[in-house]
């Protein structure tokens, strides 16, 4: 029998200690996020937004010192509304991501731990959810409610928990076969104790990564639903609503009332994605053992 051929090659420098642009990129992402979060938290303390206020005389003003992002077709300051909109988007995105990962995590944990028929049934349900076109399904769910943040959160969580379920299940299946789980069983640990002491701590990094990866996605869904008029109530400042409103004034040449909210969707989603990538690189075993030295 021929010995298996071992090929040695230099590992690409993408994992492990990262230098140059990728390292700076995650700092840039962190900085961007910090600025955005600070704005979202601090600005509302000093400048309250009256969601219903209309100021027709100053409608459609181009960006200036008084209104850095301009004003919209009914004279509202685009900067202030964008910040309030971003606040809603981040909150909805975060909550939906956490809810989705919790649902998926529980389903994946149940499937992986119980195995057998329970596993097959749960995975069949996951397949079923995945087979549905998820934007349409999401629209169907929000349509059941009146427009509200809760409806959007439910819609995004219900359409996106399956990824987390798959990740957690496969991770549990691999953990289950490890000798240290045998050792725990031999030491008298119950199933619940093994889940608590071994599975959950070892799953935590994966859950965190899944949640972080889901936030930008959830933000896009929130804006898409609001843009379609199905998400948040139309008078509320949300990025999706603003772009929806802005597209009308776009024809009149007012580019600012949709461009700036659009940028504010792009910026945090890109930053969070970069951060998620950094998290993933960092949790690779090679980096862990390197940083442990």
């Amino acid at each position: 029998m021929a010995a298996p051929k071992t090929r040695w090659r230099a590992r690409p420098e993408t994992s492990g200690r990262v230098t140059g642009w990728p390292a700076r990129r995650h700092r840039l992402a962190l900085g961007t996020l910090a600025v955005l979060v600070a704005a979202v938290v601090l600005v509302p303390l000093f400048a309250r937004l009256d969601q219903q206020l209309v100021d027709l005389p100053s409608s459609g003003l181009a960006p200036s010192w008084a209104h850095p992002f301009g004003t919209d077709e009914v004279g509202r300051d685009v900067l202030l509304r964008s910040i309030y909109g971003l606040r809603v988007s981040l909150l909805v995105g975060l909550t939906a991501a956490v809810a989705g990962v919790l649902i998926g995590g529980l389903v994946g944990l149940a499937a992986g731990t119980a195995g057998g028929g329970v596993d097959r049934l749960l995975m069949r349900i996951v397949d079923g959810f995945n087979a549905l076109p998820h934007l349409l399904f999401g629209i169907f769910i929000v349509a059941l409610f009146s427009p509200s943040a809760i409806a959007v959160i439910v819609s995004v969580a219900v359409t996106h928990w399956t990824t987390a379920a798959r990740i957690v299940r496969s991770e549990v299946l691999s953990l289950r076969g490890r000798p240290f789980v045998d050792a725990a069983i031999s030491g008298g640990s119950s199933r619940a104790r093994i889940v608590r002491r071994h599975f959950l701590p070892n799953l935590a990094p994966h859950l965190l990564l899944a949640a972080v990866l889901m936030i930008p996605h959830a933000i896009w869904h929130e804006t898409a639903l609001s843009f379609l008029g199905l998400g948040l109530p139309a008078h509320l400042a949300s990025l999706g609503n603003m772009i929806n409103d802005g597209q009308r004034s776009l024809l009149a040449g007012d580019w600012w009332s949709s461009l700036f909210p659009g940028l504010l969707i792009l910026l945090p989603t890109l930053a969070i994605s970069a951060l998620a990538q950094h998290l993933r690189d960092r949790s690779s075993p090679r980096h862990r053992s390197e940083s442990a030295l």
Partner: protein, 227 residues
């Protein structure tokens, strides 16, 4: 008595154990030898009630075993020291966590963990280290302490010292011997190192013959695929 008879284990179409048998009495050391891949670790897992065999029976102190793994109420009566300490501890646990975990799971006083750690030569500064921060020998000491924590009536040492140096090997064997003399536990020492087994068990060594692959099980064709 821990008694296994006619143990057959198959993984898929691959038969790993074919009517294997081994018996360990309290207070006795039995050596189990055999070439690599012949199923020693598999038999050890069956004896520790961690693997349900496809055939055969295990009798623990006169009671036939019907339930395995989590469902086996008497599984803590058999302690198992695993072949590879690296894989046998949760990478997130400290060495002290490793030793206290079975005590916590069974609501026993945790002071025992410190005594065991000291007995096995784990100095206090090692207690808070994680597996990747200690040597194989130090990790295996923690694994031995863990296996002794619940005072099992039978102890299975699966290649406990194969990857360790001679002095660590002598120390660990001496610890287990002391435990056996104090509690009257039965010990099954598994190794491919017949000399060690002969010395440890006083000549009480059983050979586990390798099983032939099912298809080639017929006449004596010398080739054997287990490597």
């Amino acid at each position: 008595m821990l008694e296994a008879t006619d143990i057959t284990v198959t993984f898929g179409r691959h038969r790993v154990l074919d009517r294997a048998a081994v018996t360990v009495s309290p207070g006795e050391v039995v050596g189990l030898a055999g070439p690599s891949g012949c199923g020693k670790s598999t038999l050890a897992r069956v004896l520790a009630l961690l693997l349900r065999p496809s055939g055969g029976r295990v009798v623990l102190d006169g009671q036939p075993v019907h339930r395995w793994r989590h469902r086996a109420p008497r599984r803590t009566a058999v302690g198992l020291i695993f072949q590879q300490p690296r894989l046998a501890v949760d990478p997130r646990f400290t060495l002290l966590d490793v030793i206290t975990e079975p005590l916590r799971a069974n609501r026993r006083p945790l002071t025992r963990a410190h005594e065991l750690a000291e007995e096995l030569g784990l100095t206090p500064e090692l207690h808070s280290r994680r597996p990747h921060e200690v040597s194989d020998g130090q990790l295996q000491r923690a694994c031995v302490a863990r296996a002794l924590a619940l005072e099992p009536r039978y102890l299975i040492c699966d290649e406990m010292t194969t990857m360790l140096d001679a002095s660590t090997q002598a120390h660990l064997v001496a610890r287990i011997e002391a435990y056996r003399e104090r509690t009257g536990a039965g010990v099954l020492a598994v190794s491919h190192d017949i000399e060690l087994l002969e010395r440890w068990s006083g000549g009480n060594v059983r050979e586990l013959a390798p099983t032939l692959p099912i298809k080639e099980a017929a006449p004596a064709t010398g080739e054997r695929s287990s490597a």
